[in-house]
Amino acid sequence: MTEKPRSHLSVLNLSCRRGETKLFGALSFDLGAGESLHVCGANGSGKTTLLRFLSALSFPDDGEIFWNGRSIGHALCDYRSRLAYLGHRDAIKEELTPIENLKLAALLSGEDFDPESARGALKRLGVPDGDAIFCRRLSQGQKRRVALARLSLLDRPLWILDEPCAALDPTAAGEVASMIDAHLSSGGLAVVASPSEDAFPHARKLRLSASC
């Protein structure tokens, strides 16, 4: 693999209002390669909204987001293909097996699919029988694990994770934390939203509160 260019995400004066109430305003931060940001705050404080702005799925009222110094509005498609987003919904097709889900996700992201590494990723996250069971039969937490396995297979520098540990047991949550650490140490970036304050001790914290 060739040397990856160092990636950089910066956010300038981002603000969002929901009707009359201001969710957050004048939000600015910088995130370089190998750094992570933990967005915390109460329910309804705008964590998901901020993460959807960052993943270019919706657009802020005010402020700009820069990727490697360029405003993402000018290179939207390029930016979208640099990030991996895990939202509240797992994006798992229930009619397919975990392996089929991962294969389609990889091919649609324009990457090659290696079944061995997919099986390895599923095994690490504790999902048995990658191609013997339909996702319909998996529990909520197991589906979440398949969705997390997808992240680790895609070669995308910026991870945007919205409550990645929802529905996971403590062992799997620990595995997620080490997955994120591995991603960061290979030069990736991560923005993680989670309501609990002490979930990701190594990450920089950004506390959202409705009054700021």
Partner: protein, 222 residues
């Protein structure tokens, strides 16, 4: 890029194969709806042939309409639509792939099934062939125009009724040219004019609607 579109088509095929109830219910709807027309005018056997082109095409329109809510709603609900937005190519390419797959799954099946059930209208052989051709080249227009409605009505309460109200008026030109082609074959004049119009509508629909549909989907997801 072709590989991306081919992957989208393969994905839709796999999902349709794992969820056969969608296709089967649409095909049965077509069979039952088209069978009601001969029963409704039962004593007047001589009117069957005159009724056939319109009745079969209206049944095909309604059957297609029935298949539309699934086009984006499932992907929207489970979050895979967001992942398609973040895919390797703009959403319009994925939408194009989905339209092609929708046509191959629903349109081609309807075109194959229609001549079989057109027998109950006492249609002659060459009219059956024209019916097959008209549905084959006309259903891409039904898929693409319908997908605009499906994207706009996505995530709305009562979206299915709204979808019918949005889509059925758009289907009028397709219905007119489709039924006219079969009518012309019955009357013994060439059906080529009607078929060419249908093909033109389908090509225009398949190539010009994906960006519009993608824009509508982006708005829904915001």
């Amino acid at each position: 890029m072709l590989r991306f579109i081919a992957t989208v088509i393969r994905r839709e095929f796999l999902l349709a194969f794992r969820r056969p109830a969608d296709l089967i219910s649409v095909l049965f709807f077509f069979i039952i709806a088209s069978s009601l027309f001969p029963l409704g005018v039962w004593p007047h056997v001589d009117t069957w042939r005159r009724l056939a082109p319109g009745a079969l095409w209206v049944s095909a329109l309604l059957a297609t309409l029935l298949s539309l809510p699934h086009l984006f709603a499932d992907d929207y609900r489970d979050g895979t639509l967001e992942q398609l937005v973040l895919g390797a190519y703009p959403l319009a390419f994925a939408v194009f792939g989905k339209l092609v797959a929708h046509w191959l799954v629903f349109g081609v099946s309807l075109a194959l099934l229609a001549p079989v059930f057109a027998f109950q209208f006492d249609l002659p052989g060459h009219a059956l062939w024209t019916l097959f051709l008209s549905l084959l080249v006309g259903t891409p227009a039904l898929s693409s125009l319908g997908a605009i409605g499906a994207a706009l009505a996505l995530g709305l309460r009562g979206g299915r009724v709204l979808l019918s109200l949005l889509v059925l008026p758009l289907y009028i030109p397709v219905l007119i040219f489709g039924a006219a082609a079969v009518e012309a074959a019955l009357a013994g004049i060439g059906a080529n004019a009607g078929l060419s119009f249908l093909a033109a509508l389908s090509l225009a629909g398949m190539f010009f609607t994906p960006p519009l549909i993608a824009a509508a989907l982006h708005i829904t997801m915001e």
